[in-house]
Symmetry: D2
Subunit: 403 residues, 4 copies
């Protein structure tokens, strides 16, 4: 099939910082390495800071820059809106885009509050009925080792899930002199380590085990409550958690422990999960992201142990699109996998995962942790009420080339 004949879809992305760069790379690599039936066109990049937006646009060949996200959403050539802004703007942009009949990819956490997330999930339900797709950006699901872990659990390789230990350890705030940022303000960021990285630990647990978190008991801490302002004009108050630790139960009763902290000195990006099953176990660490460790009771005890699977073989998820066996993938590759999967789902007329409902489920766990922490670690049930579709109608959407 020549390029000219291929179906394509116009992408409009809002945001130009860390996530904007990661998503730009994701769209581009999805096309080059996965060759999806639906080819992404980088139509427009939105950002209030025009200079910054233009700089990113220049580097990644975005076709245009818009300084008002509403303009971007309104563009006819934008068929998919990719939201890479801070969490306090997710709901407004996403709901508007969905209502405009645009597919939406929204960075995690889905929103800063359960109410916002519920509104988004409702809008996504409504949109889905009209063929408009939505997805939340838990990219770590698409690390090949993680995707393999889920498959192995689903195939029963470790038996019944008995116990989970999940943690996401970083240390970039460990230095008490590190300056204030929007990520430390509750109004902008929603929460601290809990929402930023704890969200990943929760989603990963739910994704790999297939079991939702049903209740929690939590403890949150702000170790450094006051920090210097970046401009040197004084100090600012940290209004989010530096660390959140919690106990949980998964559906069916399995106990789990969670740690999310930006104060784990020496740990840079250690998203770790270990799942103990009735017939085996799985362990993963994002700081060694090309490996998955598998233990199986079925192996005779004399040669049994954790096997370090280098997840770089052609029969591992996503790998065949990349390099020969033994050639490592990195952080950014998950964004390419996410983009490729989303394009495939849109083309196939299917709802992609993780859905906004999945994002809401995580949000509700985080909210329960905060509620528990505020109530002296009291056991707090996680709300699992399904969200009804929002009332408003969404225009039907088919991929451009299909029309």
């Amino acid at each position: 099939m020549s390029g000219a004949e291929r179906r394509s879809i116009g992408i409009g992305m809002v945001g130009y910082a860390f996530m904007g760069m990661a998503h730009s790379q994701g769209w581009r690599n999805a096309r080059s390495f996965f060759d999806p039936a639906l080819t992404p066109r980088l139509v427009a990049l939105g950002g209030r800071n025009r200079a910054a937006a233009e700089e990113l646009a220049r580097r990644f060949d975005w076709g245009a820059v818009e300084t008002d996200w509403r303009e971007l959403v309104a563009r006819d050539d934008v068929e998919l809106v990719d939201i890479c802004t801070p969490g306090d703007t997710h709901a407004e942009i996403a709901v508007a885009a969905l209502q405009a009949g645009k597919h939406v990819l929204c960075e995690k956490p889905l929103a800063n509050s359960v109410a916002e997330a519920e509104a988004m999930a409702a809008a996504a339900e409504t949109a889905a009925a009209a063929g408009v797709r939505s997805m939340v950006g838990f990219t770590y699901r698409r690390v090949p080792a993680v995707a393999l872990a889920r498959k192995l659990v689903a195939e029963g390789r470790i038996g019944q899930v008995r116990q989970v230990r999940a943690e996401y350890l970083q240390d970039w705030l460990s230095d008490a002199d590190a300056p204030m940022s929007w990520r430390l303000e509750k109004d902008r960021a929603g929460s601290g380590a809990l929402g930023d990285i704890g969200a990943h630990a929760v989603d990963l647990t739910q994704f790999i085990t297939g079991l939702p978190v049903t209740g929690v008991s939590g403890l949150t801490d702000t170790f450094v409550p006051e920090r210097p302002l970046a401009d040197g004009s004084g100090t600012g108050r940290v209004t989010v958690d530096d660390s959140a630790v919690f106990l949980a139960r998964l559906a069916g009763g399995a106990p789990a422990t969670f740690t999310a902290t930006r104060f784990a000195t020496g740990r840079k990006n250690a998203l770790r999960i270990e799942i103990s099953g009735s017939e085996g176990a799985l362990a993963f660490d994002l700081e060694d992201m090309n490996a998955l460790h598998l233990y199986e009771d079925a192996v005779p005890s004399r040669t049994r142990g954790f096997t370090r699977i280098l997840v770089t073989e052609p029969d591992h998820p996503y790998v065949s699109a990349w390099w020969p066996p033994g050639h490592m993938l990195g952080y950014e590759h998950g964004f390419s996998h996410q983009a490729a999967d989303l394009l495939t789902a849109i083309d196939a007329g299917q709802d992609p995962a993780p859905s906004f409902a999945d994002g809401l489920a995580v949000q509700r766990v985080l909210a329960a942790v905060e509620a528990s922490a505020a109530a002296g670690s009291a056991w707090t049930t996680v709300d699992t009420t399904p969200v009804a579709p929002a009332g408003e109608t969404v225009p039907n959407r088919e991929p451009e080339a299909a029309r």
Copy 2:
């Protein structure tokens, strides 16, 4: 100094199973490798099963066997009673021995209940006033890497302790067909994973950080409530926890997470602790027991990372008594260090650590975890009331050779 001129002390040990063998090796090696000023004589071994006791006595040259522990305690040539029996007998034997003016080494956990532990701690207080020493057997304190960790924390190498993650993972009950044993009966064992291995995780945390646990929120589980009886005559009911997970606060407020489980498939003896400090971090894993991992913010970022210290150098705790650098120590060496330290303390007329009060402190944490778990994970304060000396008088004790 020739052997004849050295001071010595008569040891009477109760118990002949796993711990009896480990302690026998400990006493013997303490003498040969540490050459303590006070030499242990293996005077008598107590055990209700005479054949089993005689077998161990033959192998380790114990001078005599007693089938009634009261006889053993009463022997004039027994100056120190070493208690290696199941937890339900600790209190009775220890209190009797202390009241008889015998030094006591008691295996952990100190007792099966807080009440018993309190009685023992009170008896120890009374005895200490008369020069009679007591110690509880948290041997992992004496793994060189652990002892080094405590020193480094005390020296301020990682700054202020901010956060702790401790876990003790085993999997020997993961197989649902593993038979019943006394360790699974609440009456005999007191608790399950919590008291057996969780006790180690709690003691290690308190030992390394120097900070007591002040409150907890816990969750306990019995995954396999019914197990086949060893004699094939049916099934028995498991009345202890298979797993205990809990959140905690240390004095000063640092949050900590604990996991103790016998269902961590694939983990055989993974007592792990990581301490995040304001200026560095320490990590240890008993499955790699000769190593300690240290991270220090003071190192410039370009070459900073966790350093894997092989704790086998002559300037590391306990190491110079053994082999040249790089020669590994194993599980049993902690028992030799424990024996050597206890002999040194007795000879110096000092109270050794960990004391019965330390053992009680651990017991109270475990009790708080059980109380919290029973109360829906409600936050539960740990009792830290000091124990008053028990009333009864204890005969003065000086090492034999010193009299």
Copy 3:
């Protein structure tokens, strides 16, 4: 500076397979992440198989396809020729391109024979005098951990280099039923494991230590001399080595050991090097490519050990162009670093490294290993005679925008 005003350079690449894809990604990412002053334009892709070349061109937006490399070299808009073909064609293309005044990037190994490599190095010398640049693609030099290792050695952090152990372990031929391929034919591939991966081990050693290999004693093996043809029509004869092991001396006398094998069962891409110095040591493994291990005698013995440096900090080589600390890079990133460095060198009017002379130096080591192996492992001195510039004149070349 807007995109329109930036200087640019037209790239013509020959080859469309594994390396063609890796280089395409390298050029593209160099532009997006490193924003070099000289921007690469993907002008033309050369390949004899038009369909395959067009497929890659479509995916990576190459402007045109040429089926004859001579046409590609002759294009006015091609200012740099990137050679990604098998080794038997390197010399002809590279010399022609240099003589046509085009900068050249040539994949490793530089050539299939020392004679070819010498001709190429001579041509490069001549070209350099006219401002035409050349570089050989030892991309592993540009893995951040490797680049850091070289810096640390140069700074004296491990003292004088005393001893080196280098190995490159793969296992993709371990299965005796794996089919024949051009890589197993001496005519096409030059050598087997020796030239394909041993070349990397030699270059890495010379790069990190700064010391050339001066002599060798080698042993080569072909474990599976006959393999099925891919088309099922019978078997073919393997005419290259499956494994090459050799002893070496570096300038100054330091001994080194090398292993290059495609039969290290279970090892997928383990390029490992450990350098023992008089005051420390460095260790690296490509299967854990974001880490460098450093040992320093200067640290007091009590806390000394190998430090695992996660080479993902902004002050590490190349890292600041990518993601925040702790976010892993993968295999392909070295190609981006290579492209960025080459563009910078061309723009600055400087000769980039590794030069064709560096490629020749590696080739001469490989030839010495083969000679030694053929002579019963006799010690074989490595030729280090400098190459004189080739006679032919090369047209002057300045970057287009600078003209």
Copy 4:
């Protein structure tokens, strides 16, 4: 069976330093943990330095001290002579002991020269005919993970042995100011790293693979040729190798690489071996001595990788005599296994392994390495001529209790 009724054997040990202590512990633990049918009695300890010998005797309950080894050998109650002295005395003591009809355990390396080793092997042959047993102390064969490795190779679990990488890395001489010692004098020590630790690497390779080394090409180095005398009186000349590296072929043709060095900065006791087979691989590192890594092609590629077997299960070699699963063994345990196996062999009237012939085989490899290094790394065939029994008659020997 009571202690009084058990058969026993009188041990006379020569040497009181590092090895003397390790062997003392070995004899004692063999009795206590393995309960061999033939019980060792620690009859006499020989050492020219009476005070040092008496000190060790006191600590380990040796019955007597002899300052002349001839007296020790001549004692009626000494039935087995255990030689723990420097290598230059091995031959004389061992031959005398064998000729006196005493069983002999001799520390490695068997001797300082091939000629001595041949004489010893001949004497051992003669003695064996008369029921007198001999064994050389390659204790690492009896690390459980190593013993398991040999079994797995013998069972064909990794197929045919294709390639071996063995190294023994230490760094205790890396400091150029470390003083002279007898280990650095050729007259006393025979060789340096080669004989001291290279001998272990060679024996381990031959033991695990079952294949003798048939030829070598070597390179030896003395990095620090002059060192301060320990008494401060000046400097002494180092007359042994600091490092020896060599290529080798095993019977059948498999290539192997060996490194033995005391200058691998940061490596304390890293005896490592990796065996690549046609259907799998095995890897071991003495610095992680309770683990064995196994890779098997038979596992489907999706979950294949190196399995880290924690060799602490009851069905692993030697383990059931010690502690429950997951409890680590250390360096010294190999000495207990060696003693237990030797006692069992003597009692069973069988020749134990490794024999003096095995020790001689290692010696001949070391000699070939030295010859090769002296001849410019020329390929050097290893002598494998069998040794004829020595002429002299040896008195028959049966265990005391059996007489």
